[in-house]
Amino acid sequence: MHRFNRRELIRMAAIAPALPYVLTSRAFGDTVSGAAAGYEGPVVVTVRLRGGNDGLNTVVPLRDDRYYRARPNIALKRSDTLALSGGDYGLHSSLADFMHLMDRGDAGIVQAVGYPESSRSHSRANEIWESALPGIESPETGWLGRYLDSAPCACEQEPVGGLEFGREPALTLAGAAGRNRLVERPERLSAMQADAMEARLEQGPSNPAFEHLGAVERALADVARLAQRASRGSGARHAYPDTAFGRSLRWTADMIETRCSPHAYFVSIGSFDEGAESFDTHIDQLPKHRLLYDELGRGMRAFADHMRDVGDFRRVVLLTFSDFGRMLPENRTRGTEHGDASVLFYAGGSVHAGIRGDAPNLDDVTDGGVPHRVDFRSVYADVLDNWLEAPAGNILSHDATPFSIVRRPA
């Protein structure tokens, strides 16, 4: 059978009917050249907890009077938590699904993660977490973007190395080679004939606006191909939350299952613009956390179950980050202000499960903020060196002894 190359497909598409963009989906494999086995290597999924998550009400120091004195109204009692080994700590009870993953050996939490002289500004803090370059103002690349720049790929056939779900571009997957794409609702693209779009960009005004539209159309075509491939995934069988976060995780899992090209994915939870509560809990923290942790836990469990079901959990690591932690003392509106270190959740088929790292030292609070005990770049270094097998020293520009969360496959 003749396999059409891209030029032939474009020429054919140019004389196709003039309404190519919203048609009943055809056999995806007919129109995509080189629909090969796909990517089967290690994958990293990053989850951003938007707004700054309170680590102290996530892993609760049940026996520490300093916690209870500082939070007369919002401290959690033992009965509000799930027992962690030893009895000194408890996990917020709305994270029951996440606890299940930990018990199963699929997940863990690193305590007191941060970095020196941490920023309490949302925008600056996110820049730092996403770039892993605290010394650089206005960085232009993210830590996984720099990994994608150096990762081997068949880039012409499979241009997308990183895929982000959301409305605004994040930095984590941004790299010099531009292998990241941003999509809000992939379901909009599942009926699109991607190859037909590129022929239209050959003529137009010579200006940055038209050139940008051309780049967007090409990105659209790239993501449409991924969405169409992922539509064969089995995510519908799993109980993902019906939220933007849940849907993004499901798409991520479907794409991993169907061997889509990205090595890295980025999703987020806690966006006002997507109708969710935020982790930026200045006001009424307790009810917001109940909702957010429930959604986070259910989402991560559905993702893990899905990946286990199809035998792909072994090649996935998921980890979270958040702008910063919260201050130890509560404020006057039953919430907390911006702080420093917090917890980092992670999950995967080959991780060291349980609570990792030392608990935050509440004797050492500075300007209300809890100091870090694990530098986040050490966690990233572990993921890069031991999971993605990419030299962390080159990517992070920081000599960090990896903080072990992944178990290197035998």
Partner: protein, 436 residues
């Protein structure tokens, strides 16, 4: 260079930027005029047009959705296109949070204010806007008194309404915050829907005495403080540049901005003078300013309806489509702090572009809908355009150069269904049509 006598293409460029798009009669009326005369004609038409205030039509006040659709109707069909465009610009400049305000009547009153005062002096607008009930609810000025919880209203006014970020100090925030004290929003009895709220001054809650804001000391209250801010050259500079960005003008030399700031100073902030200065500038007419603006969703919708003279657009469908494209009227991003970023942001993320290409579907039609399964029937709203020859459709839709209109026209004739509808759909779903 600013043309001496407008060609039809010049008229289309002018209308694309000031009034969403040219209707066929606009091209006829304005071709051959000089820029000054054309601008004066457009401005006068809008200034004279006496549409009923949004807040006086009960149907608009049933819900925020009703209000949005009422505004979409005006955006798409009002003869006062320039007034609608100025209101839309100001709506984005000041931001809007329907969710916070949660009162369609109050939002309608504010929308009337932007439409009316937006054609006047900026200082007059700010004086009225700071005490507009919807704006007070949105900014947190309701009940703002000596024991105020936050300085957010002052920060918003300094950052988004006047001088901009980086041009004020914490002390200015404190002083302005003090000047803003003493006002609250009064709830009508029973909170009946459609009954307008009122802003009420309570002297016992007002911090008297001199305040120093950006180097000027006076016994400022809310009105006098924002008036002072409106008259600052930094405000003129910031608002002028925002307007240039909104209009998509490439002003690399800065000459247009300078002319606008001078016009502001000479006229006391009259928006007519400021906009006139922009339109008379060489930058407005340069090659790099043409076809360089990525249209907002509202601009796309308003433009196609004007170009095809659609008199009864499907308002609910267009409302949903604008929202899906990232522009829900009365709900700007970040809880109303500032407006839509515009430009490339309209097509970020990439699938927003895919939704924009569905504009033809959103044009919809009036009941009754096409029979089930009849995909060949064009939307009823398009009836004014059905039957037009392809050449006229192509000319009216005025897409950026490089569009292979001939090929699209051929394909439309060969396909199923009404060829005019197919051609319109095809043109709307091109990158070329996204540009003004």
């Amino acid at each position: 260079m600013t043309p001496r006598s407008l060609t039809s293409e010049d008229v289309r460029h002018l209308m694309r930027r000031l009034s969403f798009a040219a209707r066929p009669r606009d091209v006829d009326e304005l071709t051959g005029l000089d820029v000054e005369a054309a601008f004066s004609a457009l401005w006068s038409r809008s200034a004279a047009y006496g549409a009923a205030p949004y807040s006086r039509e009960p149907a608009n006040l049933a819900s925020t959705a009703s209000l949005r659709q009422a505004w979409i109707r005006r955006l798409t069909t009002s003869p006062a296109g320039l007034r609608e465009n100025m209101a839309l610009f100001l709506h984005g400049l000041f931001g809007s949070s329907a969710e916070t305000v949660d009162d369609a009547a109050a939002l309608a009153v504010r929308n009337d204010l932007l439409h009316e005062a937006g054609m006047g002096r900026f200082g007059d607008l700010l004086e009225r806007l700071v005490l507009d009930p919807a704006m007070m609810l949105q900014t947190g000025l309701d009940g703002h008194g000596p024991f105020r919880v936050s300085d957010r209203p002052a920060v918003l006014i300094l950052e988004h309404w006047s001088v901009g970020a980086g041009r004020y100090e914490p002390a200015d925030v404190g002083a302005l915050s003090s000047a803003l004290t003493g006002w609250r929003v009064e709830q009508p009895d029973g909170n009946d829907a459609g009954v307008a709220r009122a802003s009420v001054f309570d002297a016992t809650n007002f911090e008297t005495g001199p305040k120093t804001i950006l180097g000027t000391t006076g016994d400022f209250d809310a009105r006098s403080a924002v008036r002072m801010l409106a008259d600052l050259p930094e405000t003129a500079q910031r608002v002028s540049r925002r307007l240039l960005d909104y209009l998509g003008i490439d002003d690399a030399s800065g000459a247009a901005a300078q002319a606008m700031e001078q016009a502001w100073a000479d006229s006391g902030g009259a928006m007519e003078a400021v906009l006139r200065a922009a339109v008379l500038s060489d930058s407005f007419w340069s090659d790099t300013s043409r076809w360089s603006l990525i249209k907002s969703p509202a601009h796309l919708a308003a433009g196609v309806c004007r170009q095809l003279e659609i008199e009864s657009p499907a308002l609910a469908a267009l409302d949903r489509w604008c929202d899906a494209c990232g522009q829900r009227l009365f709900e700007t991003p970040n809880n109303g702090e500032g407006g839509w970023p515009g430009g490339r942001d309209w097509v970020t993320p990439a699938d927003r572009l895919a939704v924009r290409y569905e504009l033809f579907d959103a044009l919809g039609g009036q009941a009754p809908p096409a029979p089930v399964g009849d995909s060949t029937a064009p939307p009823r709203a398009l009836e004014p355009a059905i039957g037009l020859p392809a050449s006229e459709i192509i000319e009216r839709l005025d897409a950026a150069p490089g569009l292979d209109a001939g090929s699209l026209s051929t394909q439309a004739r060969l396909g199923e269904g009404d060829p005019a509808a197919r051609l319109i759909a095809a043109i709307l779903a091109t990158p070329h049509y996204q540009l003004a």
